[in-house]
């Protein structure tokens, strides 16, 4: 489904990703952990198409297509979704409009009829309940004045409405209290299916108690330095990142 080979990326002449490899097959959930500055967010932004980053080397194959050559919106419409670490506030645009525009862009791409305002509101309200958002959030401006937790719920709501094939969750757990974390994890778990894959980026193992990954990778210095099953996350919790980075010379299994 997604195959990243020898990916190098830089921003403002500063190299961040330095030969990253990752293979994600349908239905798999991959966790990417790593210390601050390892390149976790850069990876998610490069995959989503942020133009600030310069891809200097490597390839990303997305179901036989060259992902890096696709415009941002095409990546989204073809089923790639990024839940932002810092969701953007857009004063003056209602959440309802924003969500419906996104859903209809995907539906057009799939050759489905667009949803009108009434049908969409019905659908959105049902899903909002599942992530613990009150109806009023439909009529407020996108993320404006939302608390950290409300913003993250709104990201998960978008994911549920868009039904992506690959969801990348960029530190969706940061800034969440335990209740919000459970709601978010619950939303994510309900999305798991044999056709849908996920890349869960997190600094802490806490989230992985709730979203249990099939694979755990440690990203450091712009490369995946270690890969394993979910027990790797527990080891990391116990020993800290320095443990991996010291012993992280062999990169076998990175393409698990």
């Amino acid at each position: 489904m997604l195959s990243i080979k020898d990916l190098h990326a830089s921003i403002d002449e500063k190299s961040i990703l330095r030969g990253l490899n990752l293979d994600v097959k349908p239905g798999e959930v991959h966790a990417i952990m790593g210390p601050n500055g390892a390149g976790k967010s850069t990876l998610s932004q490069v995959l989503a198409g942020r133009e600030n980053y310069n891809v200097t080397k490597g390839t990303v194959d997305w179901d036989g297509q060259d992902l890096l050559a696709m415009p941002i919106e095409e990546r989204a419409r073809s089923g790639l979704f990024l839940a932002f670490q810092y969701p953007i506030e857009i004063p003056g645009v209602s959440n309802a409009y924003f969500l419906r525009a996104a859903v209809n862009a995907a539906r057009r791409h799939q050759g489905l009829p667009e949803l009108d305002a009434m049908d969409f509101i019905k659908l959105a309200k049902a899903e909002m309940k599942s992530v613990g958002m009150r109806d009023e959030f439909l009529y407020r401006s996108v993320n404006e004045g939302f608390s950290g937790g409300e913003k993250k719920r709104n990201e998960v709501l978008q994911m549920i409405l868009l039904q992506p094939r690959l969801a990348i969750l960029d530190e969706t757990d940061s800034g969440l209290d335990i209740d919000a974390l459970k709601v978010v994890a619950d939303g994510v778990n309900r999305m798991r299916s044999p056709e849908r894959s996920m890349i869960v980026i997190t600094h802490y193992q806490r989230l992985l108690d709730y979203i249990v990954p099939d694979f755990v990778h440690v990203l450091a210095g712009g490369r995946i330095v270690r890969s394993g099953g979910r027990e790797l996350a527990l080891e990391l919790e116990e020993h800290g990142y320095s443990w991996v980075m010291e012993g992280g010379k062999d990169q076998k299994g990175a393409a698990a």
């Binding site: 941002i72 989204a76 969701p87």
Partner: protein
């Protein structure tokens, strides 16, 4: 000034008409003399430094030959509708209904014929404003006159529609609003073109707000894209009165708006809210002047402009705080959004403060669409053009949200939607 001879003719006819009171004939004469002396404002005047009227002067404008048939406008909405075609009241196109107690609404033409002397104070003087305002005074034949007695409330909105119907014609509407103590009204001026060619609209609206009166004024400038629009809105506020002004300027190749208010009593409030959009080679200029003559008054001024292609937007905001006008609270902001690298926005605040105990804040920004927001929208499947439209609308929405009335806000949104692609839908 190639146009002057033909305009002077109409002026002479009006001056010679029977029943014109001496004060009116005299004021008009002095106004005409002032315009003849000064001519159109030139770039030598500080307030006109960024706005050249050369193209206007090269254009010959005709007097409308006969009453033109025009498409109906706005009648589907409730409220009072007073329609003017090429500057003249068209009763057959208007819908006035019954007016509440204490409210009088007439055309200027009718009011001058019936009781000219009662209008003397409201009419204005030849020294008011810049030379185009003087030209308006000399030539104004018609307009709306709204008079509200003490405590009178006009619940329905009064819509004044000015249609430029004859191609290449000039019109000089003059509107007078006199709100007695505690009176309330909402007046909406619509300027639209159906002539399809370079028209000139030179308009003046004067508002007098007596103690505790409350007037909301909205001007929707949607003239033909070849038209010239010069407009003044001048308010005088007595103690405790509230004046809300919304200037929505979307049409015309050149639009100049002069908007002023004078706090002549304590505890006055005023909101000057503005939104403009210009593209192509068009030009829009707002100059505002708030005179804090008295203490304990509050003014809020927010102007937002969206500029595309090689268009140009100008904002000049002057705030004068007189000696002794303590506890003045004034905020002025101008924010411009450039959609093209060749568009240009000039903002110039001008604060003259002669009192000690005042709060006066001003700020101006000129910027582009936020890249991170664009990325966010595109990452949700919106193509770049759609995302840009959404963010541009969002920028404008801040100005629209300051319009209190839902009905009024929806009218402005409707006008904006007409400028935007259909894909914006019900944004």
């Amino acid at each position: 000034m190639s146009n002057l001879p033909s305009w002077v003719e109409g002026y002479a006819v009006r001056q010679a008409a029977a029943g014109v009171p001496a004060w009116l004939a005299e004021t008009r004469k002095r106004a005409m003399e002032r315009f003849a002396d000064e001519g159109w404002p030139t770039a030598k005047l500080e307030a006109w430094r960024h706005t050249s009227l050369q193209a206007l002067q090269q254009q010959a404008f005709a007097a409308p030959a006969e009453a033109k048939a025009v498409a109906p406008y706005g009648q589907a909405d409730s409220g009072l509708w007073m329609v003017f075609v090429d500057g003249h009241f068209a009763p057959q196109l208007s819908r006035l209904g019954t007016l509440p107690q204490g409210v009088q609404l007439r055309s200027l033409h009718q009011a001058l014929a019936e009781s000219p002397d009662a209008l003397q104070q409201a009419f204005g003087a030849e020294t008011d404003g810049a030379s185009p305002a003087a030209l308006n005074l000399a030539l104004a034949a018609d307009g709306a006159v709204l008079q509200l007695e003490r405590g009178a409330v006009l619940e329905d909105m009064l819509h004044l529609v000015f249609i430029a119907a004859t191609a290449g014609a000039a019109s000089f509407p003059r509107n007078l609003v006199v709100a007695g103590p505690g009176a309330r009204a909402t007046v909406v001026e619509h300027y639209i073109g159906q002539g399809g060619e370079a028209n000139l609209t030179n308009t003046v609206t004067r508002l007098r707000l007596d103690q505790d009166a409350n007037v909301t004024h909205l001007k929707l400038q949607n003239e033909d894209l070849q038209a010239f629009h010069l407009g003044s809105i001048d308010a005088v506020q007595a103690r405790g009165s509230v004046f809300n002004s919304h200037s929505m300027s979307f049409g015309a190749r050149l639009a100049r708006h002069d908007i002023s208010t004078d706090f002549t009593g304590e505890h006055c409030e005023s909101l000057l809210n503005g939104l403009y959009y210009v593209n192509g080679k068009r030009h829009v200029d707002h100059h505002t002047f708030i005179r804090h003559s008295q203490p304990f008054c509050t003014s809020r001024e927010y102007y937002r402009g969206v500029l595309d292609d090689t268009a140009r937007g100008v904002f000049g905001g002057r705030i004068f705080v007189a000696p002794g006008a303590d506890k003045t609270d004034a905020v002025q902001r101008s924010d411009s959004l450039l959609l093209s690298r060749l568009a240009r926005a000039d903002a110039r605040p001008e604060l003259e403060i002669y009192a000690d105990d005042v709060k006066c804040a001003h700020g101006a920004t000129v910027g582009q669409l936020d890249e991170t927001s664009l990325f966010y929208l595109c990452s949700r499947g919106l193509d770049e053009a759609h995302a840009r439209h959404v963010l541009t609308y969002a920028f404008a929405a801040a100005a629209i949200s300051r319009i209190e009335s839902d009905a009024l806000r929806n009218q402005v949104i409707g006008a904006i939607r007409a400028l935007a692609p259909a894909e914006l839908g019900d944004l």
